[in-house]
């Protein structure tokens, strides 16, 4: 088995117009910048993107939005140090936003990966974000029914990867990445280093390869925070 792919361009080539794409990362930590930039080069339109945020500056997710490729964003916190790209487009009515509490977003993605079509959570009960949703009481407390989230593709960022698709993550770069790997039909992982099968201790694997379809080595990946401090823009 060999899930390694030579280039980010080849990896994102199957992503078509209208696809739903989960993108890992929390702010810039664990964000697969090189895969996002390859997706911009590829250029599919009308994407629905699932990410915790809405991008920052003019690179990564913000650049994807700036290029007009995203028609809907599902996220918990579309604010950042410089959320201008998303903010301007949203206020102009150019992009749809589905706002989801962060823990509910994580759990909905996990549910998608785990074959759980719906679950109940206390989060959001009695708030605007539960409007129109089914409510149920358990032991006298009220809960909101939430649905799974799945995607056609996930673009994620790992630290080590092997030809079976087993992955590790770097520190808090883990965040949504392992969950999105579970919830997408086609998970594309960029990793800092591809190692031979067996080099990752089976106890240290965070994402087992069954959840991953492609692995691309991107040594010394860019950090969104660093790019933005340099006022970088893509393309």
């Amino acid at each position: 088995m060999d899930k390694t792919i030579a280039s980010t361009a080849e990896a994102v080539a199957p992503i078509r117009d209208g696809a739903t794409v989960m993108i890992g990362g929390f702010g810039g930590s664990g964000a697969p910048i090189e895969l996002i930039h390859a997706l911009i080069d590829h250029g599919p339109k009308n994407l629905t993107v699932i990410n915790n945020n809405a991008g920052n500056g003019h690179v990564g997710l913000a650049a994807l939005i700036e290029q007009g490729l995203v028609s809907k964003l599902i996220c918990s916190f579309p604010r950042s140090a410089d959320p201008k790209v998303f903010t301007d487009l949203y206020l102009a009515g150019g992009i749809e936003l589905e706002l989801v509490p962060q823990g509910t977003l994580a759990e909905r993605i996990r549910a998608g990966g785990a074959g759980i079509p719906a679950f109940y959570t206390p989060t959001g009960f009695g708030t605007q974000l539960a409007e129109g949703k089914r409510i149920a009481e358990f032991e006298g407390r009220s809960y909101v029914q939430e649905r799974w989230l799945k995607a056609d593709f996930a673009l994620i960022k790992g630290e080590l990867g092997d030809p079976y698709g087993n992955l590790t993550y770097r520190m808090a770069g883990r965040n949504f990445n392992p969950l999105m790997a579970m919830a997408a039909a086609n998970t594309i992982a960029q990793v800092s280093r591809i190692v031979p099968a067996g080099d990752i201790d089976p106890e240290a694997v965070i994402t087992p390869g069954i959840f991953v379809q492609s692995v691309i080595e991107v040594p010394r990946p860019a950090q969104e925070e660093v790019l933005n401090r340099e006022e970088a823009a893509y393309p």
Binding site: M1, A114, G115, N166, M182, V205, G209, I210, F211
Partner: protein, 223 residues
Amino acid sequence: MTRKLTNAQIAWRAAQDIADGAYVNLGIGFPEMVAKFQPAGREAIFHTENGILNFGEAPAPGQEDWDLINAGKKAVTLKPGAAFFHHADSFAMVRGGHLDVAILGAYQVAENGDLANWSTGPKGVPAVGGAMDLVHGAQRVAVLTDHVTKDGKPKLVKRCSLPLTGVGVVTRIYTSLAVIDVEDGHFVLREKLPAIPLDELQALTGAELHRPGPITDLTVPEL
């Protein structure tokens, strides 16, 4: 001419349908034999409910590590590229549709795809394990079984009389006599042993065997 396949031969036949790179869960007991007949050049990655991907054969006697076991509590070994995970992640793989094939045993399979393989009735101690999970989520749910019970009654039936494991879940049945698909609520005969006449096979089957296409000879090596 072969009048009936052995369990090993049924397992061999099932193994021929496993694609290169497939993620496969083999039920406890007889289905476990499928692993050793994996065709050369095609790599299957085996999953076990208790939290291992890419495990291999049993270790040599005396070399067992009892924290490295499969769902049948038998000692196994690891292949390069293996991974450990907890039970919730393990069943996320199952229920979430990430397995390509699950292969289970059966007491009865109905023409609508219903499977009964966990309970023979109210007496004794009931036990279900992961069977009810495994029949959901895998892209293909295959059954390995003798074509008839020990006393000659059909195991392939119109409707299961035994407690169900899952409703409408089986996609293919490998029996001691034939290979049969479940499609649109019917048994569809794909292959049969050349030595078994069609009418005899039908007589041993509790529901109609449909034949919309050609029927291939089921040929399996001596094992």
